[in-house]
Each structure stands twice: as C-alpha cells, then as structure tokens.
Amino acid sequence: MNSYTHDWASKQQAGTSAPARRVRFSLAAFMCATVLAAGTGEASQTGRLDVLKQLSLEDLINVEVSIANKSPRRLTDVAAAVFVITNEDLVRSGATSIPEALRMVPGLQVGRIDNRNWAVGIRGFNGRFSNKLLVQIDGRSIYTPQFSGVYWDGQDVVLQDVDRIEVIRGPGATLWGANAVNGIINIITRDASETVGSLLAADAGDNRARRVVYRHGAKLANGGAYRAYVKYAHQDSPFEDGKPFDSDQDYLRRQAGFRADWGGDRGVTLQGDIYRSRINSYEFSYTLAPPYQRSEPGILPFDGENLLLRWNYGDGAVTGNTLQVYYDHHERDEISNGALDSDDDFFEETTFDLDWQQTRRYDNQQLVWGLGYRWIQTYADFARDGERSNHQFSAFVQDEWRLLDERLTLTAGAKLERNPYSGVEFQPSLRGHWRLNDDSSLWAAVSRAVRAPTRLEQDISVVPTLLPPFSSSNPLPFPVFLSFEGDPAFDSESAESMEMGFRTVIHDAVSLDLAAFYTEYEDLRTVELRDPIINISGQNPFVDVPSSPENRLAAQSHGVEVAADWQIAHWWRLRSAYTYTRLDIEPDPTSTDVTRELPEGQVPEHQLSLRSSINFNGSWSLDAWLRYVDELPTISPTQASGAAVRIPSYTAMDVRLAWQASPEISLSLAARDLLGSHTEFESEFVGGEPIKLKSSYYAQLEWRF
C-alpha cells in the first residue's frame, strides 16, 4: 500500500564517514582488506556459475539478478532514506527474529531487553514500545492502537518466505499515515508462486532454544498458487543467570498461516495467520494491605489472528488500483497491570481496516491518491472505560513531476487523517530527487508527521509503583503509591523534518548511501504530577501521588546515516552501516515531569555495523557481523548536567557458517553475541536490573523438497 515499495533494487547502497575516530577505523580496515584481497588474484566466473548450477529450480527462480538498467524505479531514485534487507541478507545474518535483522539498518536503534522483548526505534526515541514508527507485515499495521508500540514478541513470520524488509527513515506520514513519524518498517513476504514446494527448517541451540517450520506450497488449478505453514518456537532466556525475569521466563510460540496469490502483480492476494503463545513468568500486583506486593508464577498467554485480502486491478500501465481489507485481533495478559488488589491484566484489540489507492500515470507525472477507513475496538482491564471502539478516516494525494529529461523529480503530497482523540491532522511532504549522472544522485525532503494520542494516554489508570510503609524510600506508616491516570486533553505529538541524501556507485564495486536529517519535535509527552491524595481515615490508609500525560516537551534531533557496500571480490562482500544520532530535549520550565529515565533520551550517539559475507568452494559460506553500539545515556530533565550514563557501550559479533550439502539440504552453525556479555537496553516497562545478554549458539537444518 505505498508507492515506494515497487521495484526497489535489492542491491543496497552504502558508505563511511563520521567522527574522525570511526573514519580512521574504517579506512584502516578497508585498506587492510584491499591489500589482502589483492593477493588473492582474480578468480574466473566459473565459481559463480557453479553456485547457480547447484541450485534447485525453486532456488533458481528466487535468485536475485542485478536490475540496474531494468527497473523503472530504482532504489537510487527514491527521495527518502531507505534501506532494504533482502531475503539473502536475512538468512545470512543468522537472525531468528525480525528485530535481530534490523540491527543492520543504519539509523535504527535495536536493543534486546530479554528473550522476547525488544526495543526498536528509528532516529532515537527508542523504547520497548517506541511509539513513533509504523511497522507493517504485508500491508497490515502491527503496532498496537492502544499505545502505538509494537509487541515484537507477538509478531512472527517464516523468515525463509520473507521477500524483503524495507525500512524508510524519517517521516513518511503522507503516504503511510499517522505514527510514521520517525520511520516505517515494511516486512514483505514472497508471492505464493515463488514458494512452491516444501520446506522443513529446524534449529536448536543453547538456552533450550528450538524452532521448527514446515511450509508447503503448490500451484492452484486456476493459475494461482498457495502456501501454508506451521511454526513452533521455544526459547529460554539468553541472559546471564541470577537476574530477575530470567530462568523461568521461557517463551513458547505456535503459529500457522497461509498465503494464496492469483494473477501476479495484477491479481488477488489472500493471507492469514493464527498464533498461540505462552510465557512462563510472574504476575505482579500491589496490595494496600501487607504484603503490599505479590508475585506469583503465572502463565501469560498472548494469542492473535489476522486475515487480509488485497486486490490489484487496472491496466497497470496508466492506472493501477489497490483495494485492501484486513482484520486483525489479538489479546494478551500482561505481567503486571499495576492495578491495586487485582490480578486483572487482560488486554484486547480488534482492527478492521479498508484501504483503496489509485495510481495514475501521465507523460511526466504520476498521481497517487487514496482513501482509508479503520475501525478499532479495544479493551484493557487497566483502562477506565474498559471497552472502546472508534472510527478513523484518512485521505491522501501525492503528485510526482519528472522534469529536465527525467533527471529531476519533484514530489508533493499531503495526508488528512481524522482520529477520535485529536481530530483532523494534516501531514504534508515535499521531496526532490536529482540524478547527477548514471551513478550518483542527490535528494532532499521536508515533511511533517504526527503521532496521534492513543487510547491509553486518554483513559489508562495504573499504579506503576507502590512504596511499602517504613521502607527506605517511604518513612511514613502507610503505603505511598504513584498512580498514572490518562488525560483526555492529551494532544498529538508532531515532528517537522528536513532531510538530505546522496547516493553513488564507484566502479560498480562500491556503493555509498548517505543521509542527514534535522527534526524538530513539539508537544512530546511528559508525565506531570497532580496534587497528592491523602486518605488516612479508612481501613487501609494510603497516600496517592497521581500523574498524567501532558504535551510539555520539545526536542531537536539531528544525525547522519551512512551505508557502504563493497564487493571486494566476486566471493567477498563487505557492508557497513554507521549511525550518528544526537537528541536535545527541552522540557517546559513549568513541567513537573519526574521521569528520571525518560525513554525519549535513550539513543546511542554512535553505532557501527560491519558485515563480511564470503562464499567459497561453491557450497560453503561464512558470514561475520560486528556491531558497536555507543553508551546509552539517560537524559534526565531534572538534572542540570543533562546526561547520566547508564548502559555502557558494547561490541558484539555474530558468526555463521553454512554448507549447501545438496540442492535440497543446507546446514548452518551460528554463534551470536560473541565478545562478552553485555546489556543492550533497559526497558521502561520491565522492572529490575538491566539484563545481561550472553553468547548463544545454534545449528540449523533446512530441507527443501
């Protein structure tokens, strides 16, 4: 459901520049590599062709070819900061979940919180429930409408059937709509006609990790194709022992689904998934009488189903239309609801979404416009109103002009969106792309995007903290608790962003992709204190210190993102990504926000990813992936000094060795998070000390038949 996704080259762009320290590092590494590579001599094409010859027909139709001169819209022609993770990138990264693979994308911050929770953010503002990005699987939005975050443990796909993951950094609201403030992650699975045949993949590793996938695909009599799959995954915590939320928090997931396609690009797609998951964990609750805090072993289920129908019609040449409708339902129990004297922590969401989009092509113009409707029904035990349902409407239009022999492309568009909490939002953008020559291009964009208020910001009612009497932080003879109450007056957060980028290919071997941005945020969420409520007359006396969300924070961020891709020899490819992100926040002087660990501040200043992919002997491949993440500061608005370091920087390495034993069978061994244990992220929603991630290992078998 967007116009960027079509025909992006799978070939990724890339580059290197940054603070002097990193530049020296990269140059040293690259020079070293050049010298070493030069000694190996030029190998013939035979090796390449041998690899192709050994592929099965199923694999051969999935081999990606260079489409530099074929595609009408290349990646290098997009006026936005984009990065594409191909299926091959995904497989060779050794990732067993989507967030792991996202670490390779410049501009993204990915931190593992525990064995199922992740913090994934774009250009800062990271948190377990980063609320400024839009994440989609095959056009179905997967962020939760109740608080705009993504439950990454609730989302899974058959990684072998993923075609690509497109990541667009920066505001993309004009085409995609609210929440696409800092970026969009589009997970796109393969057309069913590309997954004909059976696949059995199983892996096992330490931490009692085991995953099994069986998928079967076949042609349908009327020219279509389908596939159906079942997936089972189990995992213990990959963290060092002795920490809370550790040994007993094993995570079990069962999922099944299907996809059927008829008619290729101008046809119909029907797909759906169902999942049932369980976490063995603890359920926490607070009580006004002793013991004040209860924690009991509990099984937390989270279940969901979805069904999507998409129809592409029109001649494709002059007009193309897409009609998409989907249904999504999920429900779960939370570890802690924060409600007093209650174990009720049930949470449920049902979404029905209808989108229509039309593309019209003229001589030098392309017009895209569309309409959208979404019905959302939500329920939360910890919301004042319990169940709520609402309607959202949207309309967008975008025009693209190609000028000066198609060397210059200008795109202007806007989206109007009406939501039940902040009314009508206007989200315009203006983009330009200038092709300097066949190998290089420049782009720039100015855009505005909005993060609409969420339901829980309006009517949540929880107690995040209770201080027992006579405890170290509470000398009073009765409990003091901090409560958090949603406020219907809470309004939208907005961002205005300026971006620029440059892409070039040098000697067909090195490609560079640079992007720089400056974004101003207004009306960001703060947590404001209300007057305390003292109740010492009842049977259980207490002091309640309530707080509510308000829009009293402004911020500016700027940064540079570089991706470099270097085909050193035909058998060896190096890819690197460097990210510099800087966030400056300005709380309103009248703000009483006491959130010492403001999630908004959690962004590492420097990040570096270096991936080496080597093929040898036709059937063996070796991948090594080195990641450096700078220290994660916590910026406290109440401290004059600004930053306080909490999570130290770390360097980690993943290694994967794979052997294509026959066209049907491949084996791989992977080691992850080598180079010592480290903490990646501390969740604002998961209590206790930050958890240390340790190395883990697994072996995988894939059989295609």
């Binding site: 799978s10 070939k11 320290r21 590092f25 040293a28 590494a29 070293c32 590599a33 070493l36 590579a37 000694g39 190996t40 001599g41 190998a43 013939s44 094409q45 035979t46 090796g47 390449r48 062709l49 041998d50 690899v51 192709l52 010859k53 199923e58 051969l60 081999v63 990606e64 070819v65 260079s66 489409i67 595609s71 091959e88 006609s193 590309e194 004909v196 045949g197 042609k219 020219g223 290729g264 085909q567 035909h570 058998w571 060896w572 570096l608 270096l610 080496s612 992919s613 080597i614 093929n615 040898f616 002997n617 036709g618 070796l622 080195l626 450096y628 920087s649 360097t651 390495m653 180079l675």
Partner: protein
C-alpha cells in the same frame, strides 16, 4: 573508550583475515547477472525437458544449443555446460552463422532485442523443432516456447505449454511447478 575502539579494530581485522583464508577457492558473489541465471536455466532445461530419441542421430550424439547473437549468454552457457551431458548426450554449444544452422539445434535462444528479426512475418519460428527460448519480459503464447523474463529482480520461466507439447517435447512436472503458463 580507547580500549573498546582498539578491541573493535582488532576484531575487525580478525574478521577480515577470516575472509582471506579461503582465498583463491573461487566462489560466488551474492549478486548475479541476468545472463548468468538465463544460462543456468538453459542448462537445466536439458534435464527437465525430454526430447524424443528421434531428435538425436545416435544415443551418444551431442545435445546442441544455439544462441543467436547474445554473446554474454553464449559465454556463460559455454562455461555452464562444459563437460556436462544429459541422458548420455554431451551438451554442446554450436556456433550460429545463419538461420539454416538452427535446424539441428535442440535448444535455440535469442534475446528480446532480436525478437522481431528472428520471427517470421507470421510471428512464428517457421517450424523449428527445437525448444525456443527468449529473455523477453512477457510471453503472449506466441514466438518462443519459453520466456526467461524477469519479474522484478528475479528470472522466472514462462512456458507456452501447448507449443512445447506440439513440438513433441515433454516437460517434467518439477519444471512446471515453478514455471508460469503464458498469458492467453
């Protein structure tokens, strides 16, 4: 910070040196060219399509490929089929100097650019008994029997099943399962 950086560099160098270990082993890059994938498909057709014995002079006579004009495909195919055989017939690439050379071929390939020049006025291949293959984007059930067009970044065979059967050839079900039939 200093120690972390030097550790980073050490590990990077280690990684790079790992990369040097298999030097000269001769392997493949991730990104293939279209003509390379096309050549491997042409090779596979010798295994997944069956020609009647009557098309061969003898049980050990060669299986002949003819590639019209397209030098990149011809070069890649020559490498792919070197030393290979199918059903006892050694695979061979024969030079094409004129239309008469095509009559002895089992597989004839021409590129999209040659399409018009190659086809007769009636848009057919003038009764060739060979399997005819092109790299055209779309196959409208006329012209070649198989199109190795690319949809997005991938090469996918589109087969005019009726034409292949009419030429007396048999398509293996495995090939059918991954191919698309031609439009209308």
């Amino acid at each position: 910070m200093k120690s972390v950086c030097s550790k980073t560099l050490r590990v990077a160098l280690m990684t790079l040196m790992l990369g040097v270990a298999p030097a000269g082993a001769g392997a493949a890059s991730a990104q293939f060219e279209q003509h390379e994938v096309v050549a491997v498909f042409l090779f596979n057709f010798s295994h997944f399509i069956t020609w009647p014995d009557s098309r061969f002079e003898a049980p050990s006579s060669p299986f002949r490929y003819c590639v019209v004009e397209s030098q990149t495909v011809a070069d890649a195919l020559a490498e792919v089929i070197e030393g290979e055989s199918s059903g006892g017939h050694p695979l061979q690439l024969v030079p094409v100097s004129g239309p008469e050379d095509l009559n002895s071929c089992h597989v004839v390939f021409w590129s999209e650019a040659d399409q018009e020049r190659f086809l007769g006025a009636d848009n057919t291949t003038n009764g060739l008994t060979a399997l005819t293959v092109t790299d055209s984007e779309d196959l409208q059930c006329e012209g070649a029997m198989i199109a190795l067009g690319s949809t997005g970044p991938r090469v996918r065979p589109i087969i005019n099943v009726a034409a292949v059967i009419a030429a007396g050839l048999q398509i293996n079900s495995k090939l059918m399962s991954i191919a698309q039939p031609c439009d209308g």
